[in-house]
Symmetry: C2
Subunit: 341 residues, 2 copies
């Protein structure tokens, strides 16, 4: 069935070395024989065995994407990642690279899965998502000298790896700006715990904007909870029970916002009328929720493409003439004004 380079060589009565060189576009092969080799390859339906190639070249031509679902009872996981993955995969495919997806069990320690990928050399590089402020996966990869890139920043590992992130800080800032312009002064910020890095960034922007507007922050209006609907419900209920209620809430996660809106509904508080609600990362749920939630939307699919490019630029095998480059980018979000604020 599958023909090898030996089959081609036998068929053409030349050596396998020549066949290989012809196929790989090496210069030291006669134009005529190259032609014959290519024709024979087509005729015998030859395509190179990736295992053989990987072994010889020490590169698998595949990139691993590590996706760790947040702990929780999510029925459907994070819609966030499909478009990102689409972009990532599309750009990798341009370079004939495969994408391997490694998902941990929700909440399970992912380090072990990562080690396996690295140590058995199943991938040439890794893309990490869900970066935490202190991320032992980053520490591990750095120490092991294994190439990687991250979706999201972290404090681990220094500036030694490419990373692409959403500008949560600016989004938090803008969200406050918009709410203040609409007359709000008591603005709550609700974000996930779990040491997820974006929660800190969001809060930075939130605080900066408050200060700029001369509003002194009320610590009671900042809260964090489990990054799912139940967590949002819980923490929102808590915040709304404080004696001096907020008139606006910024949620740093869509699932938490949904849970929060449920809590609000039970208290008879209507987003968009009695309270303003803004969500920092938009998902389709925000759009179809009633009232439709004003949210900040990232360009996920282009981000996937971009991170692939950044990763490749950092790999010696793919970097251009200037050699490998480490790039870090932070992308803005687009405000999608809807009905909840």
């Amino acid at each position: 069935m599958a023909s090898s380079i030996h089959d081609l060589a036998r068929h053409l009565n030349i050596s396998i070395g020549t066949v290989s060189r012809a196929l790989n576009g090496r210069a030291d092969v006669n134009a005529d024989t190259r032609q014959r080799v290519l024709e024979a390859a087509k005729k015998l339906n030859y395509s190179p065995n990736q295992s053989g190639r990987s072994l010889r070249q020490g590169a698998t031509r595949s990139i691993a994407f590590m996706l760790q679902p947040h702990p929780g009872d999510q029925q459907y996981g994070e819609p966030f990642f499909i478009p990102f993955l689409t972009g990532l995969q599309a750009r990798l495919a341009d370079y004939d690279l495969d994408l391997m997806v490694v998902m941990g069990e929700p909440g399970q320690y992912q380090q072990e899965r990562l080690r396996r990928v690295v140590e058995t050399r199943r991938a040439d590089a890794v893309v990490l998502a869900n970066t935490r402020r202190e991320d032992d996966r980053i520490d591990y990869l750095s120490k092991a000298g294994f190439p990687f890139a991250t979706l999201g920043r972290s404090q681990s590992g220094g500036d030694t790896y490419p990373s692409l992130d959403i500008d949560f800080e600016r989004a938090g800032d803008e969200a406050v700006d918009r709410l203040v312009a609409r007359g709000h002064r008591r603005i709550a910020a609700i974000r996930p715990s779990h040491d997820l890095n974006f929660g800190y960034l969001f809060l930075d922007g939130y605080r900066k904007a408050l200060k700029r507007h001369g509003i002194e922050g009320d610590p009671g209006l900042i809260a964090d909870g489990f990054i799912n609907e139940a967590g949002g419900y819980q923490v929102t209920a808590d915040v709304m029970l404080s004696k001096d209620r907020p008139t606006a809430i910024i949620f740093n996660n869509d699932a938490m916002a949904l849970g929060g809106c449920k809590a609000l509904a039970e208290m008879g508080i209507r987003p968009g009328q009695d309270i303003a609600v803004t969500v920092i990362v938009d998902t389709p749920l925000c759009r179809y929720f009633s009232p439709a939630l004003t949210a900040f939307r990232p360009a996920l699919e282009p981000m996937g493409r971009r991170l692939a490019e950044m990763l490749l630029a950092s790999l010696p095998a793919f970097a251009g003439p200037e050699g490998p480059r480490i790039i870090r980018e932070v992308w803005p979000l687009e405000l999608i004004a809807r009905d909840s604020d």
Copy 2:
């Protein structure tokens, strides 16, 4: 950095053959030397190079999942697949198998990507999603003798491969049942075109139930459109313009239902009050939409696990003592009654 089997052999002053046999649990190796090999492996942080293994064994220990986004302008892709992927990946990981994800460009011909995977032997088997009634991917894989399984049935390929599907027929039937019990007689069925197989299955169930209830179907109430929001909008508007309007609509896709509801809203028709709306495959969007949409929900994550098992059972290398088995399963959906009917 990475130690090979040769390093172990040198370190222990024995041959690589013995090392390999010791690591692989072969019987013909002294218990004592095996112990020493295992200790050395741990000490030198050895783990087998997958490329070397693949080359020798002719198996890559990775499974490819082919996901082809439907054409359309979906911002976020299909939430359907994340939980399925989670289950699939989890079970494969139990067998130390990797998951490779191959996504076509939306609407792009996927055959080429598939051929590449097969011909370069990057995976040992393939899992297909979005099966069509006549599916050339299935024809190709069958002819090539390459192992695969499908999420969704097809008319192609006969009974030669494992497949797992949702019982769209029964869901269509039950949906009609429920609506008839609530007094509806004019029930529309809106489904995707594109030759997607589940659209046919759904319609079979729909028709069967109508006949059972002695309702003669109105062909004008059956319509298909593009499988996205715009398609649902369009075809729903058409159906509602017929002189004898339906009192209920069953949508065979969540995005189409959302678009349909938009059309209804513009006509001042309220789901749950003026018309009954049922969705055949539930997604989170159905739950958060307002009114929350009554929908049939599959157990996606368990289905992912199950399909992995079925695929493995069909592979000689993994099948139990009885040898490889071809299994086909159709899973029921659970009705989630909400507010739209």
